[in-house]
């Protein structure tokens, strides 16, 4: 089996077999990261361009290191969406990068669907590193890798995604990936931050955090964008925290071996209490490591890699 799609745009529509294959491929990549000399020659002579239209430290660095650990040449282009609205179009920028010989373009963009648009116009393969509120597939994959490592499986688990579901691409990629893998997904947030018809995606929706956490195996806490308050979506950070922050008291409703995830960067004291963020049952740092591993796996598979054990050892 190999990765058949030209572009990785999202987890929606991906099969359980494909997801498992990517996660299986990521495992040996973790070994590489933990070595003293973190370099394998797998992608020597390949070029990865990280084209980021939104500020990002974590995801961009993760992709960049993933490429470098496998000896690909990685280049970062960071620009603000606003300047691009006035200037060169995404398609023209993509064609320019294409003409320079890039094998893969990793695209982060504020507009949903931008990677799909770019993918139709360039030869390079596209990896969606987060587009608007649409998807962030590598985040979904790294979350699943982390859960699978801790829990042994994804099937049958109850995963609660907590926070601003409406504006979250992380939530959507988690929903598609986890439901495909047989997990039960709950989403929870203020009524104003739950997207319309979200339950049609195969999840249960809650506005009561207590109910949403009851018996959960995993809680994935989303970052609350503070500017949402100014748009009238919720009255205050204070009230949000009072109603929705994940704290130790609320965690008691979950299973005793609950696992807590957060895609970062965290607003400590807003969506997640300090003592929860730093506790043993939080896997927030593992998520970061797994992020590099998953991205190595994706880069490897999309550059035509064979089996998971083929050339990484």
């Amino acid at each position: 089996m190999s990765f058949q799609r030209k572009d990785l745009l999202g987890l929606r529509g991906m099969t359980a077999q494909e997801i498992s294959y990517i996660l299986d491929t990521a495992l040996p990549m973790k070994d590489v990261i933990q070595r003293d000399i973190k370099k394998v020659p797998t992608l020597r002579g390949k070029t990865v361009v990280c084209l980021f239209y939104e500020a990002s430290t974590r995801t961009r660095t993760s992709f960049e290191l993933a490429g470098k650990y496998m000896s690909a040449d990685t280049i970062n282009i960071s620009t603000s969406t606003s300047s691009v609205v006035k200037g060169e179009s995404l398609i023209d920028t993509g064609k320019t990068i294409d003409a320079m010989g890039a094998d893969i373009i990793v695209l982060r963009h504020g507009a949903s669907g931008a990677p799909a648009l770019l993918g139709k116009h360039v030869k390079a393969r596209i990896i969606n590193a987060g587009d608007g509120f649409h998807e962030h597939p590598t985040q979904g994959l790294l979350d699943m890798l982390t859960i699978r490592e801790r829990k042994g499986t994804l099937e049958g688990l109850t995963v609660t995604i907590l926070g601003d579901i409406l504006h979250s691409r992380v939530a959507r990629s988690n929903i598609w990936g986890l439901t495909t893998m047989g997990a039960k997904v709950r989403v929870c947030g203020p009524a104003t931050l739950l997207p319309p018809e979200i339950e049609a995606l195969g999840v249960e929706a809650f506005t009561s955090v207590e109910e949403a956490l009851e018996g959960a195996d995993v809680v994935n806490v989303l970052r609350m964008q503070l500017e949402r308050q100014q748009k009238g979506l919720f009255p205050s950070i204070r009230e949000y925290a009072r109603l929705f922050a994940l704290n130790k008291e609320r965690l008691k409703r979950c299973k005793s071996d609950v696992l807590v995830l957060h895609p970062g960067p965290m607003n400590r004291g807003v969506e997640i209490a300090n003592d929860v963020a730093d506790a043993d049952f939080s896997a927030i740092e593992e998520q970061v490591t797994n992020g590099v591993a998953v991205r190595m796996a994706i880069l490897y598979l999309m550059m035509g890699g064979g089996t998971a054990n083929g050339s990484v050892h």
Partner: protein, 432 residues
Amino acid sequence: MALYIKKGRVIDPANEIDEIRDLKIDNGKIVASGLAVAEEATEVDEVIDCEGMLVIPGLIDLHCHLREPGGEAKETIASGTRAAARGGFTAVSAMANTAPVCDSQSGVEFLLKRAAETGIVRVYPIGAITKGLKGQELAEMADMATCGAIAFSDDGKTLSRSDLMRQALQYAQMCQRLIICHCEDDDLVHDGVMHEGYWSTILGLKGIPAVAEDIIVARDIQLAEDTGSAVHIAHVSTAGAVELIRQARARGVNVTGEVCPHHLALTDSAVEGYNSSTKVNPPLRTEKDRQALKEGLRDGTLTILATDHAPHTTEEKAREYAYAPFGISGLETAWPLYWRELIEEKVMTISEMVASLTIHPAKRCNLPGGTLSVGAPADITVIDPNMEENVSLEGWESQGKNTPFLGWTLRSWPICTIVNGQIVMKDRKIVD
């Protein structure tokens, strides 16, 4: 030299005619209509054999954007009227949201002058309700009406201030002109780019809820009722708006509504894949809304079909979905899409559909045309109801290539368009 249209199925709803007959056209007018009229044709006359064809009054579009002045890269009066002729339209009404806005006598005169110089179908100016479409001060409606504006609209924008809309309705009534309302609550739309629902959730695009339309339709109906004025709701797209109009008409409010081809043929599921040609205002709605529009047309709640032809340049549309402009280039595919959705789906009779594209809009705005009466201007469209054509950009006349229907195979196409006795389109091609 006269022009004879021979043995077509003449459908003229205003005169309750639906039968095989001939028409004779001379000096820009229909001068005879009946059986075997074409027998008298001599060698100097032109005869179009229309056996198997539909011969109908020239289509009248109450709602299109010709973009000139100011948006000539998107469309001009020349290219837009060519697109109209290719689509079987003999008259189009141009919305006021040009640059500068058509909000004064000079704007109306410019449009009419350019249409006379470069247009190949009739062009009717629609003046702005408010100066600059800014929604703050009334434009000089009486002046514009005097020199040819057929109606008033701030289309493209909602007139947010209820006081001003009320005054506009009163003032337009004095000018004996119709107000055409673009109904979307700005606060509820707020950066939305598609219908809010299942698909906006999946695609992660900011949604425009159906209630954004309903709430302004309700307001404008109440204001029309309050002032005793006539109001026309542009591009009705929601089930809620259809029901509001139905109830208002039942209690005698002078309200009409129009439906666009894309709202009948597509739903919000078409946005999957982020094709920016599906980005339109108001947005493509749900199947429930689509069925409600059809029901509204079937039961006579909605009486007018209009295109909302909104051409844009290819480069403007080749953008991220959120940044691409709203609009569909619709003149050239309107008829076969209506046919597919309304005739093939048995929503209306052909005669009813023709009426919604001819006599109904003509009557609503007191326009000439819309009939095949003897003595009427010879604005005539010939349709081949069995012709199948693949929608492609080959032969496409509009500068706006922004159609979501590329690749669709549609049946029933206009094959000849006659404006004022002159053949402007024949065999799907403009006659230059």
